[in-house]
Amino acid sequence: MRQISIDPITRIEGHLKIDLDIDSGEVKSARSSGTLFRGLEEVLSGRDPRDASRITQRVCGVCPAAHAVASTLALDDAFGIQDKIPANGRIIRNLILGGNFIQSDVLHFYHLSALDYLNPEDLKGLESHNSGVKDLQTYLESTDGAPFTPEYSGDYRLGAEISEALAGDYLQALEIRKKAHQLIAIFGGKMPHNMGTVPGGTTNKPDIDSITKFRSRLGEIKEFVNNRYLPGIVELAKGYNDYFGVGQGVSNFIEYGGFYLEGFAGSHKQTSKGLEGGVISDGSDSVKDYDLSQITEEVHHSWYKEEGQGHPSKAKTLPEADKEDAYSWVKAPRYEGKPHEVGPTARMMINYLKGNELVERELGRAMDKVGIELDQLPSVMGRHLARAVECKCVIELMEDWVENLEPGKPSCAEYEMPESGRGVGLTAAPRGTLGHWIEVAEGQIKNYQLVVPTTWNASPRDEGGKPGPIEQSLLGTNIQDPENPLEAARVVRSFDPCMACAVH
């Protein structure tokens, strides 16, 4: 048995350490540790509730719009104004969230993951007609290659032609993810950390100018996603087909759904959404409704006092840095006591099985192209594929939504803030499903809890010793060379971990 520690896991958001026990080239045990705690839930306590939609964005600079949306929904709920949001406000929130999906997805594949498959060494000496790739080649040949090299050695299989295309797309994707942030800035002022989503709606009325600027950018992004990103994953999957069988993990999936299509009057479950939610248990091919009362956050192996744990509507975050048997700042969310995977894979499976026409069509086509069945989606390559399919679907939805904006009409409701109340904000987020729970008393935040996508995925063991989804997905992974655990890094990165989110 050999023990290795991969720390830091780079090319993710934030601070993650992975410890592995390897025997005969195979992972026998895995531990996932979040190594940064900031205490943002307690920072929220005692503040004006409205501040939450600004402060919670600071949980994460990669997916702040998801927190912006979850917190405004929680505040709408706590203030009792869910049914007063003007259509423009609801649509703009969806467009802001959609922009964040695109940014996050493109960033994840090209700038965080691609170097797991693309060896910069393969670019040296090949003849390229892409001026960006030529610049990159000159750079690699005339310097030590940092920050692109050195990287783990291992089975880089793409060959010259695909490597060249992927390197070119890496550079173009830098511009595309930037445009996705511009989409958000048009209606949100700036990114990261938008200044548009507020309880009651959004701050700025749409007009012809903003709509036109939005549509033209979305068109450019769509062209890249449909013609480069999704086909690029299909191309990558041809070379790494075996990775549809690596990194399966738990067979439970949960998603609340998001992108609200109508004003809603209190029940998150009964509202139609662009992407639907549900629960898949034990690898079943049927989807159940989720029941929020079945969510707990355990802290048996996390650096927190156990007296604070429980349902997010009343849990507290009480750090205990020297706690024995703990190994992570990430809590362990469980649904019906079991670990659940969240993310585009879970969401695409749930929507496919529930008969969401758009997802059925796009995911069906993509699975046909790479020759897999639905049960192969929870895997390293399946997660990349599901993310790209989802990105395409979200763009198609956004194209419709932007047409429904009414120029010059209000986007924000007037309201009186009540002294007390409770609220829940649930949304789909780029890396999975996101919930914010708020309690307001005497005009201030009394309690605020977030259960975030990577909290689910990167969770440590629970009271019963059950490992979290990333930990389980590493079990059985073949590691060719423990000095260069490239295969493990590929498994971990396929989840697109966001550790600042996971711990907050």
Binding site: I6, D7, P8, I9, T10, R11, E13, G14, T35, L36, F37, R38, G39, L40, E42, V43, S45, D48, R50, D51, R54, I55, R58, G61, V62, P64, L115, D135, L136, T138, S142, T143, D144, A146, P147, T149, Y152, L174, H181, A185, I186, G188, G189, K190, P192, H193, M195, G196, V198, G200, T203, N204, K205, W303, P319, A321, D322, W329, C412, A489
Partner: protein, 288 residues
Amino acid sequence: MSSEKSEIKPVIWIQGAACTGCAISLMNSPYPKLKNLLLDELVPGKSIGLKFMATLMGGTGELALEVLEKTRAKKDYLLVVDGAVPVGAEGKYCMVGEESFSDQVARLAQDALAVVNIGTCSSYGGIPSGNPNQTESIAVTEHLDDKGITTPALNVPGCPPEPSWFVDTLAKVIISGIPSPDELDKTGRLKEVYGDTIHSECPRRGDFATGHFARHLGEEGCLAEIGCKGPYTNSSCPNRGWHDGLNWPIGNNHPCIGCTEPGFPDVMSPFYEKFGMEEAEDMYRRLK
């Protein structure tokens, strides 16, 4: 392109109590693009060599830390720090490899030519240092003072900073070295970048002068009555805008929340309540 004649200044970018928003914001730089920053000259004859940055670098785990150590040993580098320094619980709130971030930042600052603090967290403590500050997060300069480390440090605050604020500060250091004290304001920012208050340059100054005030979010006009911190916040937001001038917070009809200032978020919160003159004066006395 960086040619062989080009002088390459190594850069180490480390991350503590942060959200990665500063790195993501830098990636939004319109010009120079990130590609230019990584591969090309930043100013004639000089470029930066980004040796270590966990968010983007190829290497993982020990392989990445080896690059960090190799660069540190040569000493001739700029240290960019993203995130506050949690010093509570002996630094256990933020660990990188086997080292606490508080030890790492001190060790790397010791040998650096200069420290550039990107974002309000590393500049002043920022969001993680907000009350009740469970982790005892502090600004990098405060931490270095406590450790007796005298490496010059510059602040590039903003939550996050607009990319040009960082790029300009970096270019300034590359061209002419550490700025002199009279080029910086009292909070360690470059005056030429942070300049005057948002209020003094605000395009809604006319609304302020004529008494056209928004009374609730969603209404047009000067946003002072619904919490705008523009009168107390220094930044070039109104002049430069965000995303190549596409929009900016007040342009989006949202009050400024004062994210470039020391004391953010506590001094600026509640964000949507008007700042009393007394509070404002008190803040100026304490912070500026």
